[in-house]
Symmetry: C2
Subunit: 203 residues, 2 copies
DNA sequence: GTCTATAACTCGATAGAC
DNA sequence: GTCTATCGAGTTATAGAC
């Protein structure tokens, strides 16, 4: 009744938790930080999410689903291979620029999970990765793609889109870049990376 | 006198600290874990390194100097550009395979350092990154390298060598790989990545 | 130098008033 | 639902015997 504010308490907690967890990770985050960020006190976090781990799980799942499934929809589209590559690079570079802490957060937390856990991210379905690899292989007639190379091409694409964003502080410092120079550099990459990939394939 | 063992106490602490810090990061590591790993008790860690932060700093510096300066020596060599690329990829893939937690550890901790800190890694010298970029630009006569592309080529190379190692758990799960299959995949990349880069340049 | 014991503190979690 | 107060476990760090 009273809470006609833009967001409910639990939503404000989730937003705050996302900021703090993505920045500091599970181990580095403090419930107090999240409470401060959300403008309320610790007891509220426990009232809504019971404990830190459950709150973290919600954030982790949300972050995962924001990052991984996009691959699928691009894959399923009716575009040509070259168009798929262009679209993929453009979307993933944008995603990383708009969520600077997302990739490193996911890589970290996946690394600290027990073995079997990761496979559950894709349940019984094929992983988007292996599907994309197959799509590249299938689209290869006329191109110079050797069997077994599809996987390399795919992870090359992922690497060139994502890595510069996670190495951003080092890259900026090493090249004396400011914020806007880095942004321009990454904008260039939306065309440079596809050009690079396609050149190496069609040579 | 007595300690004719292979390693001194402080060395054993450093080795243990490296394992624990690289695996769990500053926030996730426990002094008790390090003590256990080193086969002694917590008081010893404080005796030799005063506190957790100072111990961490030693590890961080060592890890940094293990990772970054190699670029320089390859750059300074008298090899052709193509040979430099091949050597760089081969060495960095090996480095990452032999130190699986090193790249993610550095990326994480660099991200959580205050702004100005990073530049101090290269003191007053040019960063190896910008130097390598210049070398690629200088070696470009006869190749199809546009001005401003050198930086892209260089970070492409870094990305394709390092990223697959930090995304290893996801990549293995997504492709149903076991340990030895992944190792073979990365061995292939020592030639695949240079081939990929050179193809895109000489097209 | 090395160990045990413990102080000092941080942090997640709960109890209970409103 | 929201807040204050506090408990109790876990951690860093130190004191002090040997």
């Amino acid at each position: 009744m009273v809470n006609t504010a833009a967001t409910s308490a639990s939503d404000r907690i989730l937003e705050a938790a996302k900021r703090v967890f993505l920045l500091k990770g599970m181990a580095g985050a403090r419930m107090q930080d999240i409470a401060d960020e959300a403008g309320m006190n610790k007891a509220m976090l426990h009232y809504y999410f019971r404990n830190k781990e459950k709150l973290f799980d919600v954030i982790f799942r949300e972050a995962s689903s924001q990052f991984f499934p996009r691959i699928q929809s691009i894959l399923d589209s009716e575009l040509s291979l070259e168009e798929k590559i262009r679209k993929f690079c453009s979307e993933y570079i944008d995603l990383c620029l708009k969520n600077p802490y997302l990739p490193l957060f996911l890589l970290n937390e996946v690394n600290s999970k027990p073995e079997g856990f990761i496979k559950k991210l894709w349940k019984n379905k094929d992983s988007p990765f292996s599907q994309f690899s197959k799509a590249i292989a299938a689209a290869s007639p006329g191109l110079h793609i050797q069997p077994g190379q599809a996987a390399h091409i795919f992870i090359n694409m992922l690497s060139m889109c994502i890595f510069p964003c996670i190495a951003r502080p080092i890259w900026m410092a090493a090249n004396d870049m400011d914020e806007s120079q880095f942004m321009r550099f990454m904008e260039q990459r939306k065309t440079e990376v596809p050009r690079f990939i396609i050149a190496s394939i069609t040579k």
